[in-house]
């Protein structure tokens, strides 16, 4: 939970505008937590990124180049220093009695799920991973190390044609104790509907524009159902992981 100046160990573009950066790191974290990265002097606010994995003194971030901040990150050379705050947020919950878990990721939304998968695997929980991409899959080998992994692409070039929800519909959800999801909003909505219908627990990772990342500015709220109807919860503090059934998106 500190602010740290860290070194870039490696930074590679694994596919056009999809990059993987490794940063020196010596703290533990929970899967689903995120960090806030200062992206040079030409941007003000830090950018939030899920923790993709932590091991051997390295923190990995899987990121997509979108605007000024991620463009700056793309240009970071090995050995350069970078200011990071984290780990932040609540992280995924793994209920005690979980024995089979389903992982559903879309695009760069697969980022936090690898770290989660490692943890599930470590706990001896059986997993199946469904990953959906636009055109070309990435990081699939990393998922395959820990679980059976099914792929879909919207172009149909690799795996099933369509979104990951298409594969999901063919799966018997009843076979799983819990579903974990991260990806674009429409995907999360379908996930909520499907798991709701089948009565399966489901946790999803949300994104919202952030200011501080530590719960102080109230920039990052989303509507969460509660006993009084709903209230605004902070994605950076009460999230980014929420129970799908409570999320009003």
């Amino acid at each position: 939970m500190l602010q740290l100046t860290k070194r870039v160990i490696e930074n590679t573009e694994i596919q056009q505008d999809i990059c993987l950066i490794s940063i020196s790191w010596d703290k533990d974290a929970k899967p689903g937590q995120f960090v806030m990265v200062k992206c040079g002097d030409d941007t003000l606010l830090r950018r939030p990124f899920s923790i993709h994995s932590i091991s051997d003194g390295e923190l990995k971030i899987l990121y997509q180049v979108k605007g000024k901040g991620t463009k700056f990150m793309q240009g970071l050379k090995k050995g350069s220093s970078i200011s990071i705050i984290g780990p932040l947020g609540n992280g995924f919950t793994i209920p005690r009695d979980t024995s089979k878990a389903l992982i559903v990721g879309g695009g760069v939304g697969i980022a936090p799920l690898l770290f989660l998968l490692e943890k599930l695997n470590h706990r001896g929980i059986h997993t199946l991973s469904l990953l959906g991409f636009k055109e070309k899959p990435f990081r699939v080998e990393a998922f395959e190390k820990f679980s059976k992994t099914l792929i879909s692409t919207e172009s149909g070039t690799y795996g099933e044609k369509g979104t990951v929800i298409e594969i999901l519909r063919e799966i018997n959800l009843k076979g799983f104790d819990i579903v974990y999801g991260c990806g674009p909003k429409p995907m999360l909505r379908s996930l909520r509907e499907l798991t709701d219908k089948e009565g399966i627990k489901c946790q999803i990772s949300l994104e919202e524009r952030m200011g501080c990342g530590i719960g102080a500015c109230l920039s990052c709220v989303c509507m969460i159902r509660d006993k009084n109807g709903w209230s605004y919860k902070r994605v950076c503090k009460e999230g980014p992981i929420f129970w799908a059934k409570d999320v009003m998106i």
């Binding site: 003000l44 606010l45 102080a216 920039s219 990052c220």
Partner: protein, 308 residues
């Protein structure tokens, strides 16, 4: 034997209270302080100014609530806060443990609400009340209190009568005549003036072809507004003889020095807290460094510029 930096006189006075140094954190950017506890020693700064408190719990505006512009940020938080009752029950206990001054920012929808808020905050653990006059006056068709010097004077004297705390009036930059607003606060009995609050701005989502914020307009803060804030602080410092707590794009010690030289007694770090959670401590250290390097003994020596 005191520490080396004890040679520097950093303390300032507001409303008869002594602050150990002139670096504060601005309302709405530091939550209720506990959020920052693991990033810095909060006791080192001169004061914490809380998020704005209303009488009733306030939901705030729908997300997205923040946008980064060139050199600045727009926010549309909309005064989300738990309301005075929960503030006193849930937030004040932690604030009371701090060894620095706590200033509570309040926002009312009517004169009566300001009065009520001030009265209920006249309790232990609070040094001052910062009155945010940038809120709409529902009794008067929703026009901002802060645009009307007469209303500012009324609110000030009402709050002043309702509390034993130092009363700080936080002016809005949305006025042509910031001097009249400051004078109104002084006439009403204010102990200090705080400025500037955010400036009305807007952003467009050109892909979606609509305003980025659901409420269309939002408040601009950060380095982009620093020159505007400096000009307003300077004008107010010439108009009234009250200490000014300046905010507007202060990220570094040099920014703070600019504000002291233009007439501020203290500075409040806002947007800077998002960039570096310990921004206020950095600014404080850089101020000390500047004073030492330039042979100043006291923060008061650098205040006020000539040159006109």
């Amino acid at each position: 034997m005191g520490k080396r930096c004890d040679d520097l006189e950093l303390s300032i006075n507001i409303g008869g209270k002594s602050f150990k140094n002139p670096v504060m954190v601005a309302s709405g950017t530091f939550g209720f302080a506990e959020e920052y506890a693991s990033y810095m020693n909060i006791n080192e700064i001169g004061a914490v100014i809380t998020k704005g408190i209303t009488l009733k719990p306030t939901y705030g505006n729908p997300p997205p609530r923040i946008y980064e512009s060139h050199g600045g940020i727009l926010n549309s938080i909309g005064l989300q806060n738990p309301g005075i009752q929960e503030f006193i029950a849930d937030k004040l206990p932690y604030l009371r443990t701090l060894k620095t001054h706590v200033i509570v920012n309040i926002a009312g929808k009517s004169l009566h609400e300001f009065e009520e808020l001030a009265k209920r905050l006249d309790i232990e653990g609070i040094t001052g009340i910062e009155v945010n006059v940038s809120c709409p006056n529902v009794e008067d068709g929703g026009i901002m209190f802060g645009k009307d010097p007469q209303l500012i004077e009324k609110i000030t004297s009402l709050v002043k009568r309702s509390t034993s705390k130092a009363v700080i009036i936080k002016l809005t930059p949305e006025t042509v005549d910031i001097e009249s607003c400051a004078r109104a606060a002084a006439n009403g009995g204010a102990d200090a003036i705080s400025l500037i609050n955010t400036i009305v701005g807007m952003a467009i989502d050109i892909r979606e072809r609509k305003p980025f914020f659901k409420r269309v307009f939002a408040g601009l803060s950060g380095p982009a507004i620093k020159p505007i804030a400096l000009a307003m602080v300077h004008r107010v410092s010439k108009a009234v003889n009250l200490p000014i707590i300046a905010s507007g794009g202060i990220i570094t010690g040099n920014d703070a020095i600019e504000f002291f030289m233009s007439g501020a007694a203290a500075v409040a770090i806002g947007t800077g807290n998002f960039i570096y959670p310990d921004c206020s401590i950095r600014v404080l250290n850089q101020i000390k460094h500047f004073l030492k390097e330039n042979g100043y003994k006291s923060i008061r020596e650098i205040g006020g510029i000539s040159g006109e």
